[in-house]
């Protein structure tokens, strides 16, 4: 039986059915959806400290503010929910909002529900939280030290999970091998942050104790269980829906789930539906990021570069809480810890550590960037140390083409591929020889040019049981086996005989609806636009499972595959119906051009719609064995995805694509700016369903990887302050930074998926960062020891490597300067002011609360606590950020009326500040000269978003203070450039909403 006589749609780059609406402004993103009249807005009060105990939360003023319906603290929330499920056995609680301690900057502390977002944010500023700051720890290795501050007292330390694994006989292999070669690798934090932020709409029906939540969540829907449990309702009392469109996710929108819980509680307490749209600072500081990881990897290596064993020691930093599905980042790759290589013996030690940073979650590449950076830097190191050609070392270790399906040492079943052939084609078609020539020329001219390689196995369609590898086999036996990956698809026919497809794939822009229309239209011999597809989810109405959603590159292999099966079943039934109506055998029926007919006799045919609608209009006429043809729902789970074995083998993913990349990078001799000269990426993702979309995935992943390699880093101060809170600090690549890669394909269909397709969306996030790092290493040091490369490779990091450390300036600038220190942003400075008053008078003024109140910029009142201590309430603004601070000021080293040291701590919603300054008074005859030096540190929101402006702003504020003092004494008031700048800053601050 043939599906169709016309050229199939699948495999062609047809235009996307999504696009007409999207290019016309008719997308339906979460913030575009209509909401019920009376829906209230939620705003969050968030932690300014990386680590602090909450002493008290005073909501009095906020509750009285205009438009406010409810102000909800962490303590309030705990009365309605329970702690979220944690994926390892550990005595620890995991709340979606801070209860008595904050553990990362941006952690929710309270929620304000008000009539609109402006009023909600106004009131959020009025919530007064009294913190007692604690020492923070942001480095995972440091977090393991005995004297490190402990985030969760119940755990006793910051190590929340440790497991050791052993496959084959690594010890013997290491003993037998002539070389033991290892490297230490630091992989930083970054996130594929989408342009659309999180959004949630929630309502609560008390009569049924039921939550109805719409969120731009992307799956996996195993999270539905986490949310329902936390809300303490059965699954059928949590209706979870997703909007038709989502503005990208790349894993990140899995992390919206704590806000689903909080919004549900807010709706319940406020007694009205609520809506929350995250802002960019909230997103960057407190959504989710990828994990950062510290890895030691060693290989047992033969003289020819052949690897006989690997030894991994990984320290994974999951941030302040281990949120579901973590520590999945660490275990997603567990089956393929040997990459594309045939290595029989493996030892692994995995430690999961908590630090004062944002909790981690799904992120494109999920675990791949971290392991491949280590593995492929190791391959480069092996070639260097043994003096071998880099490509030879790779080739010698590849899984051979005749070995598929190939079982890796750690348990993955690599489905298909011909790695050597794909690599050979890339070398040839990608023009490696020419690139070598370019490098030779460049080097001959004294330029720094390097070539890097990376070889990657890209897993897709996660085994829902892989995360249980984190449990011991005894614990797993007790909990019962977890495995599989149910994909669902429904194909339905309406009374007019038209076809609708429903899946639970929750696309985030990948064009799922188009591809499924291709699959089904081909099957039924219909034109593309005859098939309509819905891919958003309503858990009360749709077929779904815990594996539903948009992650682990599962769409093409699993969801399109399940759709293919559903359509085939329905087509086979329709063939029987048509055969009985056309008086022919079912095997003679063809579906083509909107008609169902006899293969041999084109005149003997019926319209597709007529046959298809038979089950609606005259079900009694259907052949007996057909049942109905109204709707076919398929649940498909591949048998290859088995639970972990007793000895910890795990087939963590169903499909394994292959990627081989190489690139040429030149480092500018003056600026040290690295630039990609040429980038070639070869992909084997099995059968290609839509070539343009596949290339779109490759280009998109590549661009994000370019960002991770050169620009992006979640920057934290040692005190846990977050320093990359705007898109001007967390730099995403623009059109100027992303070159067009050469994309090549080699197709070996997967034997395990219905359409032969494998996932393709994440590969370049795994291969490209390390390919670039290897090229940079080659440019820096063509021979000998490999330089330690830590991403992102910025000009600032490379400059000292090529120019040597920057010498101290000959004439140091005495002005203030901002520099990174152990704390937040450090500011130092000095200045002087002349006042027309005697030293004694000035001295008195400096100690008088009323005078201080009059001259401190933005003061709302100064109180004297005792002779040397004051309390002040001030509003300070930096750039667009303005906030109110409570300051404690102490005077010491008093030398009246000559000198005094002022030390102070300030705490406010926008962050913290601390510092000290020495003020000296000198008699000038007709007045007093005041000189001052200060040193201050700033943390919290101000440091995150105003970092670049802090230095100048501090100068302005302090200068303003002394000028006001001078005015107070009748001295010359400042009206110079500084005063004008201050006026400008004020205006900016007032224009913004924050």
């Amino acid at each position: 039986m043939k599906d169709t006589a016309t050229e199939p749609l699948l495999g062609r780059s047809v235009e996307r059915i999504e696009d007409a609406a999207l290019v016309s402004g008719r997308g339906q993103f979460i913030d575009d959806l209509p909401v019920a009249t009376g829906t209230l807005a939620v705003a969050f009060v968030r932690a300014p400290h990386g680590h602090a105990d909450i002493k008290s939360v005073d909501v009095t003023a906020a509750t009285r503010a205009p438009g406010v319906a409810a102000v909800i603290t962490g303590q309030d929330v705990t009365r309605y929910i329970r702690s979220m499920t944690v994926g390892v056995k550990a005595n620890v609680e995991c709340w979606p909002i801070a209860v008595d301690r904050v553990r990362y900057v941006g952690e929710p502390v309270a929620m304000v529900v008000a009539t609109d977002r402006y009023l909600a944010e106004d009131a959020a500023d009025l919530v007064e939280v009294d913190y007692s700051p604690l020492t923070a720890v942001v480095d995972p290795v440091r977090a393991l030290a005995d004297d490190a501050p402990v985030l969760h007292q119940s755990l006793g330390s910051n190590l929340i999970n440790e497991r050791r694994f052993r496959y084959g006989d690594p010890e013997t292999a290491f003993d037998a091998a002539p070389h033991r070669i290892g490297i230490d690798v630091t992989y930083p934090r970054s996130a594929c942050t989408p342009i659309e932020t999180y959004g949630v709409i929630a309502r609560y029906e008390p009569g049924e104790d039921a939550y109805d939540i719409t969120a731009n969540f992307q799956g996996p829907f195993s999270i539905h269980a986490v949310v329902a449990r936390s809300l303490q309702v059965p699954g059928n009392r949590l209706r979870l829906r997703t909007p038709p469109d989502s503005g990208g996710s790349f894993g990140i929108k899995q992390g919206v789930f704590p806000y689903m819980i909080l919004s549900g509680v807010a709706a319940r307490i406020a007694g009205a539906p609520v809506k929350w749209i995250e802002d960019r600072l909230e997103h960057l500081s407190a959504s989710v990021s990828a994990t950062n990881r510290q890895t030691r990897i060693e290989a047992a290596v033969e003289a020819d570069g052949r690897i006989t064993a690997l030894d991994w020691d990984q320290i994974e930093d999951c941030g302040a809480h281990l949120r579901a599905p973590e520590p999945a980042t660490l275990y997603r790759m567990h089956g393929n810890m040997t990459g594309a290589y045939d290595i029989a013996n493996v030892a692994i030690r995995n430690r999961v550590v908590l630090t004062n940073k944002t909790p981690t979650g799904l992120n494109r590449g999920f675990g791949g960037p971290q392991i491949y950076f280590a593995l492929e830097r190791l391959m480069d190191t092996i070639a260097r140390q043994l003096g071998l050609d880099r490509l030879d070392v790779i080739r010698r270790n590849l899984v051979p083409a005749d070995a598929f399906p190939y079982r890796t040492a750690t348990g993955a079943l690599l489905d298909s591929g011909d790695y050597a052939a794909a690599m050979a084609r890339a070398v040839d078609e990608g023009g490696l020889a020419e690139l070598y020539a370019r490098r030779d020329t460049a080097r001959a001219e004294g330029r720094r040019y390097g070539i890097g390689f990376a070889c990657v196995v890209e897993p897709s369609v996660s085994n829902m049981g892989y995360i249980t590898t984190v449990l011991s086999s005894e614990e797993r036996a007790k909990a019962g086996p977890k495995n599989g990956a149910q994909a669902t698809a429904t194909v339905a026919i309406d009374p007019l005989g038209s076809v609708t497809v429903k899946v639970a794939s929750v696309p985030q822009g990948q064009g799922h609806r188009t591809v499924l229309a291709q699959v089904v239209a081909d099957k039924f011999g219909l034109p593309l636009d005859a098939v309509r597809v819905l891919a958003d989810v309503d858990t009360m109405r749709d077929a779904w499972s815990i594996a539903s959603g948009n992650y682990a590159s599962r769409f093409a292999p699993a969801v399109a595959g399940a759709t293919e099966i559903a359509a085939t079943r329905l087509r086979d039934k329709l063939a029987k119906v048509a055969a009985s109506q056309l008086n022919i055998g079912a095997s003679d029926v063809t579906f083509d051009a909107g008609r169902i007919g006899a293969a041999q006799n084109p005149d003997n045919s019926l319209s597709f719609a007529r046959v298809a609608a038979t089950a609606h209009w005259s079900p009694g006429t259907l052949p007996d064995d057909v049942g109905q043809t109204l709707r076919e729902t398929v649940f498909w789970t591949p048998p290859e995805l088995e639970a972990p074995t007793a000895d910890d083998g795990i087939n963590s993913s169903l499909c394994h694509g292959f990627i081989f990349d190489f690139c040429g990078i030149e480092i500018d001799p003056d600026t040290a700016e690295p630039r990609i000269d040429r980038y070639v990426t070869m992909h084997d993702c099995g059968r290609i369903l839509h070539p343009a979309m596949v290339d779109g995935q490759v280009r998109g992943g590549f661009a994000q990887a370019v960002g991770a390699a050169f620009l992006e880093e979640y920057a934290y101060g040692e005190d846990g302050s977050f320093r990359s809170g705007t898109l001007a600090d967390y730099l995403l690549p623009t059109v100027m930074e992303v070159p067009e890669p050469v994309i090549l394909h080699h197709e070996t269909p997967s034997p395990f998926t219905p359409l032969g397709a494998k996932g393709v969306g994440e590969g370049n996030c795994m291969s490209t960062p390390v390919c670039i790092a290897n090229a940079v290493a080659d440019a820096l040091a063509p021979e000998g020891d490999a330089p330690n490369i830590v991403l992102p490779v910025t000009a600032a990091k490379l400059a000292p490597l090529i120019h040597g450390e920057e010498p101290e300036p000959k004439e140091p600038v005495p002005e203030t300067k901002a520099e990174a220190t152990s704390g937040g942003r450090k500011l130092t400075g000095e200045g002087r002011a002349l006042v027309q008053a005697s030293r004694e008078d000035v001295w008195k003024m400096l100690l008088d609360p009323a005078t201080l109140d009059a001259i401190i910029p933005g003061s709302h009142g100064v109180q004297k606590v005792d002779e040397t201590r004051f309390k002040a309430d001030v509003t300070l603004g930096v750039g667009p950020v303005r906030g109110r601070y409570k300051a404690d000021i102490e005077l010491s080293d008093l030398d009246p009326p000559n000198a005094v040291t002022l030390s102070g701590q300030a705490v406010g919603a926008l962050g913290t500040g601390g510092g000290h300054g020495r003020v000296t008074l000198t008699d000038t005859g007709d007045g007093t000269e005041i000189t001052y030096r200060y040193e201050a540190e700033i943390g919290g929101k101000v440091a995150s978003v105003g970092g670049r402006l802090l230095d100048g702003a501090a100068k302005v504020v302090i200068g303003e203070f002394f000028r006001a003092l001078a005015r107070h004494c009748g001295g010359g008031a400042g009206n110079g450039p500084i005063a004008r700048l201050r006026g400008l800053l004020n205006r900016i601050a007032k224009g913004g909403r924050t």
Partner: protein
């Protein structure tokens, strides 16, 4: 511009996509919020609210402007165009059609802003070369496409608007 106090909520009169509108807006309301939440023109998106991503770009008197950096009251008397105005009737404009043909969008969240920038560019510089187009695009962040198809689509649209060959 008249001085407003924070509790006033005067009407802002301007032209939106050829139609006169006069919604009320408190002085601190952003133009992006006015368009999206008061008028319901949700085609203009908001990605950062601090002027970096470009998703909120609209045309004010023909020039591309970040709607998140403009107060609603500043729109008084202006002629504002948003993505909803690009297509004439059911047909996509050449620029929109080129985006669809070249797969220059995935999630489409950044797209409205990019289209408004390019539309303004081609209106003032129909001959804009690739470097100029890239320069204009560099004010926009797209997290999905890797930009290459956007550049292709822009070149194709430029050629089509000029009446030249369709493919760049």
């Amino acid at each position: 511009m008249p001085r407003l106090t924070k509790d006033e909520k005067p009407a802002v009169r301007f032209t939106l996509n050829g139609r006169a509108v006069s919604p009320e807006a408190p002085p601190r309301m952003l133009l992006s919020d006015l368009l999206r939440h008061e008028i319901g023109a949700t085609g203009t998106h908001v990605g950062c609210e601090h002027g970096v991503c470009g998703a909120c770009t609209v045309q004010v008197d023909g020039a591309p402007v970040r709607a998140c950096l403009m107060l609603a009251q500043q729109a008084q008397g202006c002629d504002i165009r948003t993505v909803e105005a690009l297509a004439e009737g059911p047909e996509l404009s050449p620029l929109q059609a080129a985006f669809r043909e070249h797969f220059a969008l995935q999630c489409g969240f950044c797209t409205a802003g990019i289209l408004m920038t390019l539309d303004a560019l081609f209106a003032s510089q129909p001959e804009a070369d690739e470097a100029t187009i890239r320069e204009a695009l560099s004010g926009h962040l797209c997290r999905c496409t890797g930009y290459a198809p956007i550049v292709q689509a822009a070149l194709a649209a430029r050629n089509r608007i000029k009446g030249g060959p369709i493919d760049a």
